[in-house]
Amino acid sequence: MYQVFTFPQFPEERIFLSYFTNVASDNLEHIKSQLISANKEYDYCFLNTNHLVSLEHLRSGIYRAISNYSNSSMKAKTLNTEIIFNLSPVNNIMDSIKRFGVDSNCSNVIVIKVLKAGEPEDESFKNISELFTGEVESKELTDNVLFSLVDMPRFKKVYKLNDAAIQGDGTQGVWTRLAVSACQLRGL
């Protein structure tokens, strides 16, 4: 299962997004090592779900990455890393990969790829599925899924929101707003 969407300002860039659960930790370790050695077969953006509070939050990072890409003002070497970097509130690429990238302790993985013109999406999905071993499940990524998986204490720590004046536990909307502004203003 996967989805493909575009942003109105950048109709050329089609964003492919899929979501897998139940990924084994040795599988994730393997993916990580392949990413580090820049294996072409692993040319995707892998994210864990620990610090993502909503789809709007996730998309705001992708949007900023693509907008930097089209302005030629990317800080990271690849668009995949740029997406990870733009989800982070901290101005350090290694740090953002550690927090938002593949995490062997998180069995839920989001895989994103910005497709080139004419690149078939079903083939990407097939290729990605082959990177996972064992009983992985491909599911639909929704707002509810993300909000149920987010690790709230860690999320708040990463986005430095422990001192925010929030009434009660805060809703998904409240946390989304704070996370989006933190991502959008990173490094500025």
Binding site: Q9, E56, G173, S181
Partner: protein
């Protein structure tokens, strides 16, 4: 002139329908129905998921291009940061959606709801609308209006207690939004002149600017309006939340300074 700037904005924001809401000396404000990255309304965590605001600072031809770029960038960033700081403090203000500092574009959430006559629900338009509704003028000084002014006073106090200065407080830079209980809540907008300062001087000038704005745009009842504003401002300083944080001391300093400012005007020196 505006057409030219709108064309520039459209070039930076392709495929985004733009309609001009207001124009200032430094920026143009547009309204649009397209979200930059969430096409599905169900994904958008904003109070209004179908209308969005874009503030665009066009390049100024009379400035040196390099300096112009720097100024546009730093002002755009400063404004967006101020907004995000307010939302962290739970002070009602527009929500940040995205910022493109190089092009001078800020996307933010739409606040308020059009009035019965179709105008933007700013404090100014609302009070003018009330004035038109009723000749005896009792509407203009009703409990509802009093509550709104007390609320605004409290809001400005909260801002000042966090050492933040709005810089351009006028009745058109305060929007009214109806909450779930039907009560009007004030939302501050336009942080183009905002700054950070703990000085009583800056806070007093901030209050003075609003006082003068109320006096000139709503002259009939300006006295009572300003009284309510200051009451709301007072009450917030003396509230439980801020009393322990030197609220009353800061209040005395600012009010004392306000009296000086009233005598001399907004500018500290008579030169320049």
């Amino acid at each position: 002139m505006t057409d030219h700037i709108v064309a520039q904005a459209q070039k930076i924001l392709p495929n985004i329908p733009l309609s001009v809401v207001s124009q200032g000396a430094e920026a143009l404000v547009f309204q649009t129905g397209t979200h930059p990255y969430c096409s599905e309304e169900s994904l958008i965590h904003l109070s209004n998921a179908s209308t969005f605001i874009i503030k665009y600072r066009p390049p100024k031809p009379y400035r040196h291009p390099k300096i112009d770029k720097q100024i546009t960038k730093s002002r755009t960033i400063a404004e967006a940061k101020f907004m995000s700081k307010l939302s962290k403090l739970s002070i009602p203000s527009p929500d940040l959606i995205s910022i493109d500092s190089i092009n001078g574009v800020i996307w933010m959430g739409y606040k308020g709801k059009p009035l019965a006559n179709g105008e933007i629900s700013s404090l100014k338009n609302w009070l003018w609308w009330l004035e038109k509704q009723d000749d005896s003028a009792s509407l203009c000084v009703s409990d509802v209006v009093e509550k709104v002014f007390l609320n605004i006073g409290a809001l400005i106090a909260k801002l000042h207690l966090n050492e933040m200065i709005h810089g351009d407080l006028t009745s058109s830079n305060i929007l009214l939004e109806e909450n779930h209980d039907g009560v009007f809540e004030a939302v501050l907008i336009d942080f183009g002149l905002s700054s950070y300062s703990g000085l009583p001087e800056d806070k007093a000038v901030d209050l003075y600017v609003l006082e003068r704005a109320v006096l000139s745009t709503h002259s009939v009842h300006s006295e009572i309006y300003n009284e309510w504003l200051l009451k709301g401002y007072n009450d917030m300083h003396l509230s439980k939340e801020f009393k322990s944080k030197q609220g009353s001391k800061k209040l005395v300093e600012t009010i004392k300074r306000l009296e000086d400012v009233r005598l001399r005007g907004r500018k500290r020196s008579m030169l320049g």
